[in-house]
Amino acid sequence: MSVLEVRDLRVTYRTQGGGIPAVRGVSFDVDTGQVLGLAGESGCGKSTIAGAVLRLLPASTKIEGEVLLEGENVLEMKPGRLRAVRWTGASIVFQGAMHALNPVKRIGDQIAEAITVHQQAGEKEARVRVGSLLEQVGLPTRRMQDYPHELSGGQKQRVMIAMALACSPSLVIADEPTTALDVMVQAQVLRLMKELQSELGLSMIFITHDLSVLVETSDRLAIMYAGKIIEEGPAETVFRSPQHPYTEALSAAFPEIGDQRFRGAPMGLGGDPPDPADVPSGCSFHPRCPKAFEDCSVTEPQLYPAGEGRRAACLLVPAAKTTTGVGT
């Protein structure tokens, strides 16, 4: 059973210079109780997907396709329905916890607000719930009297997580939730999220550029490049034995300590991630791909089956040959 089904999602930002296609046809499911890791570099469209699911993007943005949250298309919801669904149906933990909290309101009131606005719970009920939420994220109840500046970065991120859980949503989206945090605090927050996820059976989308974090937290991985998913499958196998050359390069950017292949030999890709306004023809990765051959600049690969529960958008995947007739 899927909490979220995204079908052929296309998002185009409108700018003075014309439309910029940030997401170019993405489909995926998030199953109940599962964590989907969405990885990619800046500009690949991963945060845009989060914005599209909750419809948090600028009004001028063109969004096509279907985003079915528990069977209901978010993209067709009326404003009233949308407001009801945000926070109760799906909630989000943003990357800059430091800036997402209101500096002049006590954190308890901020969490309570999310509850009273969305669930018509009374003040008192909300208070009790705030207390138990704070405990759940490992903060003492008395901290609800604190203002954001009295908390450290890690504590603020815990408050953000408490807020995201406030209305018991069916889906939680975490967009780079630990990027701004120190290594030790990052590990604490990741462990907390993992514990909450398995305790509450949360369905989650976890977005980050750090593939090593995703392997630790996700059941499935989807790797994005230039607005498309280019590889997906079980987290561990995608990371350990990537099928797409881009995934391979990305996972090499997070070398395991002790792995002699990387000792004294950092691995990287030439070139830079493409400009979303000017995506290369054929396979969008071909100008940087160490394995590219002629057809790559012409034929745009689709996601082909690539092993158990896996798909990859590369012409080198054996299944690609039968589909496209392209020889390697």
Binding site: E41, S42, S152, G154, Q155, D182, V183, M184, V185, Q186, A187, Q188, L190, R191, K194, H209, D210, L211, S212, V213, V215, E216, T217, A235, E236, F239, R240, Y246, A249, L250, A252, A253, F254, P255, E256, I257, G258, D259, F262, R263, G264, A265, P266, M267, G268, L269, G270, D272, P273, R288
Partner: protein, 357 residues
């Protein structure tokens, strides 16, 4: 430097010539107080950002300074650059203390900062940015009489921006993040330095681009014999590029040694804790230190790590009869294996079966 032994193989790293020596370096930041409290004579709290750091940098090696934020790694790097007033200790360059006039020293020791976008003047062309260093140092010809343009071109192409003249008239905003970081590196290279101090040189770059910049740094070490200090929070990065790793905690080096030793056979519990939180599959099952990053305004007595130390917390220190020392007696680095030093009473015990005097 003598060139007599060009044909002889390079001596092993631990016998090579010392380029920079840091001795008992101390940097204190004075906290501020409000006007009224200031008038009442109240002083702000002192923050001992660097609190007795000593190490030697040998010619041609890459040393990583690693630790959590607030451990003093960046302040140490800045002090080495002469960008940070020092409250105690000494920095020796090729055996001599830093002179009052740092200009000639800065020519030989160049810094690469974390954020290439913030480092580059947006209104200067790439050519102007690179040539500025030469002009500041009054260099209008290279050692073989090359004109400025040729020196700039050489620096750009060494940094991998080829063909260099294609970049001369461009502005930083026209370049990608990776290219901008290359410009910053070219700006450092144009003065033909001996040492590069790089503060988190890739942390602002996209993951797939990082490898290229690190490859470039490795190549420069290889081709030009550069000595490199890399400040980083990323131990995976240290594993890929560093010959030696120094782990810092609350203003001190608590462990230092060859990267293989420190990262694969760590002696200090803090190093172990840092290694335990490097994300990888299954890593969340391992212990994580509790508490927030330590506070340099309140450095604990004894071993500065003891309030978070799993050896103390688990009661193992008490069992071994070292707990009192952990809590009260400050300690210095001691050699565990050749060239591998750590500052931990438990490690000392393991080393020689008895607590040292």
């Amino acid at each position: 430097m003598s060139r007599a032994e060009v044909t002889a193989p390079p001596p092993p790293a631990n016998e090579r010539e010392t380029v920079i020596e840091v001795r008992d370096l101390r940097v204190t930041f004075q906290g501020r107080v409000g006007l009224i409290e200031g008038l009442r004579g109240k002083k702000g709290t002192q923050s001992r950002a660097v609190d007795g750091v000593s190490f030697r940098l040998r010619r041609g090696e890459v040393v990583a300074l690693a630790g959590e934020s607030g451990c003093g790694k960046t302040t140490t790097a800045r002090a080495i650059m002469g960008l940070q007033p020092v409250d105690g200790g000494e920095i020796l360059f090729e055996g001599d203390p830093l002179p009052r006039d740092l200009k000639p020293y800065r020519r030989k020791v160049q810094m690469v900062f974390q954020d290439p976008t913030g480092t580059l003047n947006p209104r200067q062309t790439i050519y102007e940015i690179i040539a500025e260093g030469l002009r500041i140092h009054g260099i209008d010809r290279g050692p073989n009489g090359e004109p400025e343009e040729q020196l700039v071109a050489k620096a750009l192409s060494r940094a991998g921006l080829r063909p260099p003249d294609r970049f001369f008239l461009r502005y930083p905003h026209e370049l990608s993040g990776g290219q901008r970081q290359r410009v910053v590196i070219a700006g450092a290279l144009v003065l033909e330095p001996e040492v590069i101090v790089a503060d988190e040189p890739v942390s602002n770059l996209d993951a797939s681009v990082r490898g290229e910049i690190l490859q470039l740094m490795m190549k420069l070490r290889e081709d030009l014999g550069l000595t490199i200090i890399i400040v980083t929070h990323d131990l995976g990065l240290a594993w890929t590029v560093a010959d030696r790793v120094a782990i810092m905690y609350l203003g001190r080096i608590v462990e230092i040694g060859p990267a293989e030793d420190v990262l694969l056979r760590p002696e200090h519990p803090y190093t172990k804790a840092l290694l335990d939180v490097v994300p990888e599959a299954g890593g969340l099952e391992r212990p994580i230190l509790t508490g927030e990053p330590p506070d340099p305004t309140r450095i604990p007595e004894g071993c500065r790590f003891h309030p978070r130390c799993p050896v103390v917390e688990s009661g193992r220190a008490a069992e071994l009869g070292i707990e009192a020392r952990c809590r009260t007696e400050d300690l210095a680095l001691r050699e565990m294996e050749p060239a591998h030093e750590a500052a931990c009473y438990e490690a000392f015990l393991r080393r020689d079966g008895a607590a040292p005097d």
